[in-house]
Every structure is written in structure tokens, then in C-alpha cells.
Amino acid sequence: MPWLTTIGALPLVGAAAVWLLPSRSARPARVTALVASLITLLATLAMAYRFDTDTAGTHQFTEQHRWIAEFGVNYAVGIDGLGLVMIVLSALLVPICLLAGWNQVEGSSARHYFGLILVLETFMIGVFAARDLFLFYVLFEAMLIPVYFLIGLFGGAQRRYAAVKFLLYSLLGGLVMLVAVIYLYVEGPGGPDGFLISELTGLEFSSELTGRLLFCAFFFAFAIKAPMWPVHTWLPDAAAQAPPGVAVLLVGVLDKVGTFGMLTLCLPLFPEASRWATPVVLALAVVSVLYGGLLAIGQVDLLRMIAYTSVSHFGFIVIGVFAMTSSAQSGAALYMLNHGFSTGALFLVAGMLIARRGSARIADYGGLQRSTPLLAGTFLLAGLSSLALPGLSSFISEFLVLVGTYGRYPGVAVVAAGGMVLAALYILLTYQRMFTGPVKDFASGWRDMNLREGLVMAPLIAVIVALGFFPKPVLDVLNPVADRTLQQVSMTDPAPTAAGEESTTEGTQP
């Protein structure tokens, strides 16, 4: 059974159904979209169940069909452990976001909102499953269009500016990468299978410079997507203007394509160039960690604050990817999953608060702990996960990244650890400003979390806690991928120090 194609096509079928519904009202569109996304989720979980953990480092569920023989393009899909984890993350977040945006749009344009999100889900699943560079590129770019419309049609006051900025930034990265994609094909074996990633891995480039330039083009695209300092400026605008559900998908899943691309394309395709660029990349990533954290503290807008925390978190992920040790890379991969849940939860609670207050300014809130304890509690829990409190999911990943990095680049790990301090500041300061203190008048008539909102938050909280205590199943799937990637860049773990032995959690042991 073509699992990946089926899972990718299900949301598309749902989107078609949403658009073809005879009724113009919002309700049938919502229900259809939710049902479609839940079916997709069930199919994804069934696939995950059938996934062979023992060979998580190799690609499974592979399919390959000729697509454009003249260009050397195949429709080739397949997932390793990381791809599986990212697809599960997407499939899990989409129904949650649909539910979160339940009353976001009324009337006939609801069809567009829910239809576009489902189209986006297809592209997201496809981009993580693509095993052909051309297919990856096509989905990487096509993904922009639904997001662009979701922000532009349903976003906040500055939505036009944010949508165009998002699109142009992403296109800039993508188009530069396009030239590199073509060049890589020319450097590779060519022929009708010339774009298969397996064909392009381990190439001997005509010159060292070629490989490095190609790496730079790919990295540029992924750095914009991730986003890293200094090409991050589109994210705060886009995330703050997008509807909360879309912001979750944007930051939680779409941006992961950037780090996913670094881990699964940059390193295996350009091993020499990756090692060459590591110092600069790590420096940029450390700047991202600190810069994102500092700016998050200074934000007056809640959504922009969360966006900047993501810049900081993505810095950690990039550090983990380029530290080139197995625990750092497993940690980075796990971080990609955890960040989706914790930041997603933050965005969603923020959306619920904004829906009540009608403002995203942090200063407009205060004292909510008493009037709406459930909302406050969820925010705090999501925030604590975001600042990597032990026992919550992000802790494991951040810890693995730092420990793994320390073995090779102690300086980087020490400076980046400062980001954890900043994280405590921006989360707790915000919590303090918004939720503590005397009850304010504006909140007198507020209802606490209702059933729908509870259904939105419950799965996220459950996952955050569960992965905090028992990350082994996920790490078992991710570790082989990290080992394989290290092999591809011909790096080995540095000789373990005593401290490294001790602190390594059971999951990272082979």
C-alpha cells in the first residue's frame, strides 16, 4: 500500500470536498475539514505503527515513479525516523489548529480558510517525505502559496505587509536554491533519475569551491526558512499577523523545513562544505539564540514575543545540527518535534487570550491567574516547557544539544546556555505581567477555557508531559538518523569525557 501517497492525498481530498460543498455556511466546511484531518492523523499513526524502528536510519515506505523524465525528475517518497517524526507532528498539529480556528472565520470564506489549511497539510507531509530534490523543491515553494493566502486573507491589521514580506523572503531563498538545485543536477550523474537524493549523495564535485557555493545557496534558503539571524525579520511580522492556528503551523511545522533541510540535505549532500562552514554557522546560531532571547524580553506584543522565542529555539536546533555529534543531532531532531508542541501551545493560548481581550499587547493584560486559572495554567506549562524545565519535553532536547555540543565546541555550548537563562526571563516576566497581580476590570465577564479550547490544549499538554518523562520511543527512531548523518559527513563523536558519559540519558545509548 502506498502509505505516504495516501496520507498526502487525504487532506487534498478533504480540501476538494470543503470547496465543493454546496452549502455556503461555515459549519459543514469546518466539520469536513476536521474529519479529513483526523482521518489523516489516524492513517499517519497507523503508518507510524508499521514503521520498523530497527531500521529507522534507512528510508521506508518508499515509492518511486517517473514524473518528468526529461528533467530527470521522479516522484520519489520515503521516510526515515526524522521524516516520520515530522509527518506525525504535522498530522497532529493540523486538527488541533483547525479546532483552534473553529470560530476564526464565519460565512462562506470559511471554506477558503479550512481548505487552504488542508492543502498546506498535503504540502507539509510531501516535503518531509520527498526523496527527489526537484520534488522537495517544488513542495518547498508551493507551500508558500497557501500560507500567503492564509495570512493575507485572515490575518491581523498589518496582514498585507506581513504576507508579502513572508512570500518575498521565502522566494528569495527558494530561488537562490533553485539555481543550486539545477547546478547540483548538472554536477551529478544526470539522466532520468538525476534528481533522486540518493543519486546526489556523496558526489565528487568538480571543485571544492563548487561544493561550497552550492552549500551556501542551500543553507541560505534554509536559514531564511528556519529562520536564523540575520534573515529572521519576516517571522515576527508573519507570526504576529497570522491567525493563531496558522501561526502554529507556520512556526511549528513550516519553519522546521529549514532545519530539516539542513540535517537531511545540507549535511549529506555537501559534507566537506558543511565541515568548512561549521564555525560560521555555529556563530550565527549562537547569535540567533541570544538575539532572539533578548528581543523576546523586549517585545510589547505577545505574538511577536513568541516569534522571537522561536528564533532563539531555532538557534539551538541549528547548533545541534552542526555540532556534528550524535547526541547533539538527536537532540536537535527531538527539539524540532518538541518545539512544535510547546511553541504551538503558547501561540494557541495567546490566541485564546487575544480572542477575549481583542489586543495582543502584553501590557493590556494582568491578573488573569485568578479570573481564568485554566488559561493561566496552560500558558505557564507551555512556557515552562519552552524554557526547558526538567520534566517537560523541551528539556531533554535542549540538554542533549548542549551536552552533545560541549564535547566538541565547549565555548559554543557555554555561550548558548545563556539562552536558557534568557528563556527563563522572557517566559516568567511575561507570565508575571499578564497573569499575576490584582484582577483587572476587563476580565470580569471572562469565561475560562471552554470545551473546544480544552480539546485543543489537552493533547498538546499531554504530549509535552509524556515526552518530558519518556522520550525513548522518539529517540529510538531519531538516533539511527543522527548516526547515519554523521557517517555521511564522515565525522565521529569525540572521545567521551566522564561528564558526557554520566549525563547521557538512556535513550541516546545505542
Binding site: 493575507g152 504576507a163 530561488l175
Partner: protein
């Protein structure tokens, strides 16, 4: 040499080939040229219809006649290309075993896989254009002026308007143009090519002046196009003369031989003659494709011409002219490619940059599309500069992708109209501000136009992306990655102004009245649906068309 002597010299030179072979009537492969014969025959018939059929029946006769002849000619192209192998031997002319095809009419016309591909494309594009031109739901009496020769605003014009005249001379004009376009990329010597150039250009100049509304603008466009076009024709002709002086022949294959292996005294050490000739011929052709710095006519003419004609011109002229440019550069001048390539690099870069950057500040949708067509000419040149079979194929593919999208986009422009206080429908609302909020008022039109814009911008899963990928891949595989990099950056700039229109249509509040979307007739709807379908299909499954270009090889 006095001009008279010079002329005499030219004449003897031309006769020499004929006299050497002994005079004989040229052998004509009627099957190979049948598409052109059908079109020219229909054009002559259409002139007679114009003369003898009563006015009220003319439209009803002309439209089916035109459509039938275009369809018939397309049928002939398909028939000939599917049974080409059999005819190749019957033609008994020089033929390339890999490419197939024949050279006929004493070698003046070459029907090879490239000519056939371009002719088929041109006929399909013309067919769609005729469907759009025949639209009568939008303006009573069609999109064209009832009295082209009357002075705008004169009593004569008013009389014709009041009488509700519907002129149909556009159809024979179009058929002649299409005939010229079919010959243009198939011409195997510079003189035939020049004649084809004139046959396609002269009716086009007239068609540009036939707008029903804003007639002064239309006539200005027509005059500008005519003057600048005449100028560029002169360049072409002078270049052809110089090349004749160098090579002693106007035949492309002969010029190619003279460039690669210069033998006679006239050729040795006379490179300047050859290079000037190449430059002048190229200028003439670059003018037609609208490449910078020979692009200045494009925005004015595109804006002033009646929109259905603009769409036809933007799509079909570009196809025909690129066909001719490809043939001249690849067949005749390829021996001197190291000389002209740097210059064309400059032209390609300039064209991409000028087209995309100036388009940003346009406020008129037709002018914006005009600058976008300039930028696309630059992308096409990028592919052409690969100077090998991958460049050829990519350009052929791009031309089809671009042609259909362009016709669809301009067809949609005809539907958005000014509307008065009482809801009466006026001319086209081409100012971009009038397109604000269109997504809410007519979602279908806005969605289709968005599809076309995304294709122009080169977003994946549209034909525009496949085309851009093809030309950039051709360029990169020949080491021209710098050109491709400039190309993608220009696409980024271009994406900005395409996206701006989408922002206007979807993310802006509608302006208070003043704009109406008119429901078109079935013919226009059909044309737009075909254009949209081609845009999507070539984006998702470009193999369907790439297969057809696989054997594309020029016959010398």
C-alpha cells in the same frame, strides 16, 4: 559602387544560383506547406467575404471561416508531422536523418520538427485569440471600432456607432498575420524571412489601431508600432544585405558555411562585414521579441491596442519571432557564437532587469503585463544562450507555456470594466486601483487571474515554473549559472509586482463602485478555461509537451 550598380550586382548574384542549376520551376512539397496554404487561402477568401457579403452577415461568415481555417491548418500540421517520415523521402530534398522534415521551394522554406512545433503552437494560440476577439457580450458590436478610418470623435464615427456597425476586417488581417507567422520560423533564407516579417507585421500594425474605445490611444499605438517596426525591418534588411555581401548567398545554411569556413576573398578578413550583418539582423529580430534596449514600443503598443489583439500579439508574435531568432542564431550564425554570445548575454541581462524593475512602478494592468512580457523575453534569451539542443527545447517549451498563460491573462483583462452611476458598462478598467477587492466580487475571475499571475511569477506546479526551470537548467548546464542567478533574482522582483496584484484583488477592500465584471460569452470562457488548463497541466505534467520537443532539431 553607385546604388544602381550595387543593385545590378545584387541581382546578378541572386540569379546566379538559379542559372547554375539551369532554370527549372521550383519543386513544391505541397503537403509540407499545406498549413500556410490553408491560412493564406482562407485569408484571401476572407477579403472576398469582406467585399461581397452583406454587412449584417459578415461576422457570421468570418468567424467560422477563420476558426475553420485555423483548425484545418492545425490539422494539416498534425497530419504532416505524424506522417512525416513517409513524406520525407517523397520530398527528395536534403534532410537530416535525426530531425526529419523537408526543405522545399528551392530551399526557401524548411519544414522541420521545430517549424512544425512552432506552427502548431501558433495556430492554437491564434485559435484561442479568435475566440476572444469574436466576443460580443461585452460591447455591442464587438471589441473593435465600427469605422476604423473615421477620425476619432468625428460625425462619421458617431454615425457608424449609432448604426451599430460591426466590422469584421480584423479576421482577414489576423489570417494574414498568422500566415506570416507560420512562414517566419520556417524561412530558410533571409529574404523569405524578411517577407514573412513584413507579412506578419503589417496587418498587426493595423489591428493595433482598431480599438473601439480610447481610439486615439489605439491609433497612437498603431503609429508607434508601425514607425518603430519599419525601422527595425530596415535594420533587418540592411543586415541581410551585408551578410549577402559577405557570404554571397542569403540562404541560412550558406551563410553558416561561409562563417565556419571562409573561402573567398570577400570572406577572408572581412569579419566586420559578417559581424555587422549579424548584429543588424539580430537587432531586427530582438525588436520583434521586445528585448531591451529595443523594447520601448512594447508598453505603449500593448496598452493602446485592443486587448484581444494585445493578447494575441504578446503570445503569437513572441512565438514566431523567437522561432526565427532561434533559426538564424542556431543555423546560420552558430559558427560565430563566440562573437555574438557576449552581446546577447548583455541583452538578456538588461531585458530581464529592465522588464522586472520597471514593471514595479506600473499602475496600468496592460502596461504591467507588457513589462512582464519583456522580462519573459529575457528569460527566454537565457535559455536560447545555451546554444544547443537543450536550449532549443527549453525555449520551445517556454514559448508554449508563456503563450497560453498570456492569452488567458489578457482575455480576463477584457472582462473588468468601468461602470457608471446607473450601472452602464464602459471601457476596460485597466488602472490597477480599480482591481481592488475583485476577489470578493468575482472570485472565479480573480482566482483564474491569480493562477496566471503565479504562473508568470514561476511558482511551482504552474507552467511558468516548468518553463523557467527548463531555460535555467539549459543555461546552468552550459556554465551560464550567473545568467540563471540574475534570472532568478529578476523573477523575485517580478514576483513582487505580480503578488501586488493578488494583494489588491484579495486583501484590499473594494473601491466604492466604478468597476464591474462583465459576464463573457461561451467562446471567451472556453478560451480562458483552455488557457488555465494548459497552465496547470504543463505545471504538473510537463512531460506531455517535453516529449514533443524531444526530437526538435533544426534542418539546415
Amino acid at each position: 559602387m553607385t546604388p544602381v550598380q550595387h543593385l545590378a550586382f545584387l541581382e546578378t548574384g541572386m540569379h546566379r544560383t538559379a542559372s547554375e542549376a539551369g532554370f527549372s520551376a521550383p519543386e513544391v512539397d505541397y503537403a509540407a506547406v499545406s498549413p500556410m496554404l490553408v491560412i493564406f487561402g482562407a485569408a484571401l477568401l476572407a477579403v472576398l467575404v469582406e467585399a461581397f457579403v452583406p454587412r449584417r452577415f459578415r461576422y457570421a461568415v468570418q468567424v467560422p471561416l477563420t476558426l475553420l481555417s485555423l483548425a484545418g491548418a492545425f490539422g494539416a500540421v498534425v497530419w504532416y508531422s505524424t506522417t512525416g517520415d513517409h513524406l520525407q523521402t517523397a520530398g527528395s530534398m536534403v534532410s537530416d536523418p535525426t530531425g526529419g522534415g523537408v526543405s522545399t521551394l528551392e530551399g526557401a522554406v524548411v519544414i522541420d520538427s521545430v517549424s512544425l512545433f512552432l506552427q502548431g503552437t501558433l495556430l492554437l494560440l491564434a485559435f484561442l485569440s479568435v475566440l476572444i476577439m469574436s466576443e460580443r457580450n461585452l460591447d455591442s458590436g464587438g471589441s473593435f471600432t465600427p469605422a476604423a478610418s473615421a477620425v476619432p470623435g468625428s460625425p462619421g464615427e458617431e454615425q457608424a456607432l449609432r448604426a451599430g456597425f460591426c466590422q469584421s476586417e480584423i479576421y482577414p488581417l489576423l489570417l494574414f498575420t498568422v500566415g506570416g507567422m507560420l512562414l517566419f520560423p520556417a524561412a530558410a533564407d533571409l529574404l523569405t524571412m524578411f517577407i514573412a516579417l513584413e507579412v506578419l507585421s503589417l496587418p498587426l500594425y493595423l489591428m493595433c489601431g482598431l480599438a473601439r474605445r480610447r481610439r486615439l490611444l489605439s491609433q497612437e499605438a498603431s503609429l508607434k508600432y508601425f514607425l518603430l517596426g519599419a525601422f527595425s525591418s530596415a535594420f533587418f534588411l540592411y543586415g541581410a544585405a551585408l551578410l549577402y555581401g559577405y557570404a554571397g548567398t542569403v540562404r541560412l545554411s550558406g551563410i553558416a558555411t561561409a562563417i565556419t569556413v571562409p573561402t573567398t576573398d570577400a570572406q577572408l578578413g572581412r569579419d566586420w562585414l559578417m559581424l555587422t550583418g549579424i548584429a543588424l539582423v539580430a537587432v531586427g529580430l530582438l525588436f520583434k521579441i521586445g528585448a531591451a534596449p529595443f523594447h520601448s514600443w512594447t508598453p505603449d503598443v500593448y496598452q493602446g491596442a485592443p486587448t484581444p489583439v494585445t493578447g494575441f500579439m504578446a503570445a503569437a508574435t513572441k512565438v514566431a519571432a523567437f522561432g526565427a531568432l532561434l533559426r538564424v542564431l542556431y543555423v546560420a550564425f552558430s559558427g560565430a557564437r563566440w562573437d555574438w554570445e557576449p552581446a546577447l548575454w548583455g541583452v538578456a541581462i538588461l531585458t530581464m532587469v529592465v522588464g522586472s524593475v520597471i514593471a514595479i512602478v506600473q499602475t496600468d494592468v496592460k502596461r504591467m503585463l507588457a513589462y512582464s512580457s519583456i522580462a519573459h523575453a529575457g528569460f527566454l534569451l537565457t535559455g536560447l544562450l545555451a546554444v544547443d539542443v537543450s536550449g532549443l527545447r527549453s525555449v520551445l517549451f517556454y514559448l508554449v507555456a508563456y503563450g497560453f498563460t498570456t492569452i488567458g491573462a489578457f482575455a480576463l483583462v477584457t472582462l473588468v470594466r468601468d461602470s457608471g452611476e446607473e450601472g452602464q458598462i464602459g471601457g476596460e478598467a485597466t488602472h490597477l486601483s480599480q482591481w481592488a477587492g475583485l476577489g470578493r466580487r468575482s472570485p472565479l475571475l480573480a482566482a483564474t487571474f491569480t493562477l496566471f499571475l503565479l504562473s508568470f511569477a514561476g511558482i511551482p506546479l504552474t507552467s511558468g515554473f516548468s518553463g523557467k526551470f527548463a531555460v535555467f537548467a539549459a543555461a546552468v548546464s552550459h556554465g551560464a549559472w550567473v545568467l540563471a542567478l540574475i534570472g532568478v533574482l529578476a523573477s523575485l522582483v517580478a514576483a513582487f509586482f505580480y503578488v501586488r496584484v493578488i494583494v489588491l484583488m484579495y486583501f484590499s477592500e473594494p473601491t466604492s463602485g466604478g468597476t464591474a465584471v462583465v459576464a463573457p460569452g461561451a467562446a471567451t470562457v472556453f478560451a480562458v478555461v483552455v488557457a488555465a488548463a494548459v497552465t496547470v497541466v504543463l505545471g504538473v505534467a510537463p512531460s506531455l509537451l517535453l516529449d514533443l520537443t524531444r526530437d526538435a532539431v533544426f534542418l539546415p
